[in-house]
């Protein structure tokens, strides 16, 4: 764990750079983490981030299937917004824990 000042706020990050406390998150923090990932956030990004944060707050799991059915984007558009590893990047930027896969 480490602390880092992002967009003027001191936040705790885990070893992989995910925020430890989702309540510290602001849009500005999201924008700054996104920049480190090479992503410029648009309105669509923020709309999806809000959906993701609400899901996590409700204790529900995140999957690509679920996001594809979110009504905000389909799975392909999700990849377009967060290229490469969309679930990992989107959760990092949204200030929520990285989804775990258990099989």
């Amino acid at each position: 764990m480490s602390t880092k000042t992002i967009a003027g706020v001191e936040v705790n990050l885990n070893d992989e750079g995910y925020m430890e406390d989702a309540s510290q998150w602001t849009k500005e923090i999201g924008a700054e983490i996104a920049k480190e990932e090479g992503i410029e956030l648009t309105e669509k990004h923020y709309e999806l981030i809000e959906w993701i944060r609400n899901k996590v707050a409700a204790g529900e799991g995140l999957t690509i299937r679920g996001i594809g059915k979110s009504g905000v984007v389909n799975a392909k558009e999700f990849y377009g917004l967060f290229p490469g590893a969309p679930l990992k990047k989107a959760t990092k930027i949204a200030g929520v824990p990285k989804p775990t896969s258990c099989i």
């Binding site: 799975a75 990849y79 290229p83 099989i103």
Partner: protein
């Protein structure tokens, strides 16, 4: 008469029928089990069929052979659970009342969920091995296949028997080597996971095994569609993997009636308390096996360990006591690695697969995360145990709760 109703007569449902008939008085309790199919498949055997080790006859028996005396059996499709009315509707208009309900309807493969998967090449160059039809069709295909790009793709999580596709590529390596074709067969393992498996030590061990066997891995891959014309799969990020023979692990979904009954998640797996095995919204509904959404493997061993927990908790609920048994997510999986050898993993919600010996500390006879001949024989022997002991709900010399003794941290 009170009524216990069990939906699904696969591994989990059959075990529960046997267990509960032993402990519930026949004068007070009526037990009914419902399933739409009359044939019981030994699903762990499907993996062996494409390589000619087992045939169809080795993995099927009539379901009726495994029900205890004193259980009503109904073969019918299930339409809906009306949980607020404590009743279940079957397809021909029959309705069944229950005091307690056990849902054990498992999971099914849903290849129709992926665009192009069931196109022109389905069962010509594209196969699954999680159905008897797919496994037999693939066995016939391999008999005359001259080699090329063999791609094994896991569509999405969760899917049942998480180690089966790994065993499949290990078997394929040995099978084509023994046929003198291995230099003509390029094997690629394409998975949505970041590596060969989920947890660190097993991922490392199995990842190294893939490398030793010259099997390519494409991780973090979420398939979008199959391009039948150009014989390649494409993921949502646009990454393409060409194939000559595609072996797919299709999307896994729970039964359709789970959705219409409002009991499940977005993949129709029943929302279940991972410790008590109770459905989250209904105290008189319990869930066991692949049908549940508990965060552990969808595997027969999990259903077997969970069965003891469910028996205890169901009795607690019936007698109006607090539920005392707590499931730990215990899973135990033999993994075939080819050439008559295998490895074994044993884990639960909190403990990843660790090296060591099983079930007796220091003695084995099985080696955890080790490749041995005994592990392979353990898997072959298991088919006999499955038909004769496990389905009948008899005790096995293995604790349902995962044991740390014999494991090395």
């Amino acid at each position: 008469m009170k009524k216990l109703l069990i939906l699904g007569a696969g591994t989990a449902g059959t075990m529960m029928a046997n267990k509960m008939r032993k402990v519930l008085s026949r004068s007070d309790w009526d037990i009914t089990i419902v399933d739409q199919y009359k044939t019981h498949y030994y699903q762990p055997g499907f993996l062996f069929i494409p390589f000619g080790i087992y045939n169809e006859q080795d993995v099927i028996k009539p379901k009726n052979d495994f029900f205890p005396v004193g259980v009503n059996v109904i073969f019918s499709a299930i339409e809906k659970v009306e949980a607020d009315k404590n009743r279940v509707l079957l397809e021909d208009g029959i309705s069944l009342k229950y005091d307690y309900l056990i849902i054990a309807t498992g999971t099914r493969t849903a290849p129709e969920e992926t665009d192009g998967l069931m196109g022109n090449l389905w069962y010509k160059d594209i196969f699954d091995f999680y159905t008897i039809e797919g496994a037999v069709a693939l066995a016939n295909h391999f008999k005359t296949w001259k080699g090329g790009k063999l791609v094994v793709n896991i569509t999405e999580l969760p899917y049942k028997c998480p180690v089966a596709p790994l065993e499949f590529v290990f078997f394929a390596d040995a099978f084509f080597t023994e046929r003198g074709l291995r230099d003509k067969v390029d094997i690629t393992y394409v998975t949505p996971l970041p590596g060969a498996f989920t947890k660190p030590r097993a991922t490392k061990m199995l990842g190294e095994l893939l490398e030793q066997k010259n099997i390519n891995i494409v991780p973090d891959y979420n398939i979008m569609e199959v391009d039948n014309e150009n014989k390649k799969i494409v993921d949502f990020g646009g990454k393409e993997v060409p194939f000559d023979c595609l072996v797919t692990v299709p999307t896994n979904l729970g039964a359709d009636f789970i959705e219409t009954s409002g009991l499940g998640d977005d993949m129709n797996f029943v929302k279940t308390d991972k410790f008590t095995l109770q459905q989250v919204d209904h105290e008189n509904i319990f869930v066991i096996g692949d049908a549940s959404n508990i965060p552990t493997s969808k595997a027969g061993s999990v259903a077997h360990f969970a069965a003891e927990i469910l028996e205890e908790n169901l009795l607690c609920a019936i007698e109006g006591r607090e539920l005392t048994a707590k499931f730990d997510g215990h899973a135990n999986c033999y993994i075939e690695t080819g050439y008559g050898k295998g490895t074994l993993i044993d884990f639960n919600y909190d403990t990843e697969p660790l090296p060591g010996s099983f079930p007796f500390p220091g003695l084995g006879p099985f080696g955890l995360l080790k490749i041995t001949r005994t592990n392979h024989y353990g898997k072959l022997l298991f088919r006999w145990i499955y038909w004769h002991i496990l389905l009948k709900g008899k005790d096995m010399p293995i604790e349902s709760e995962m044991q740390m003794a014999g494991k090395k941290l």
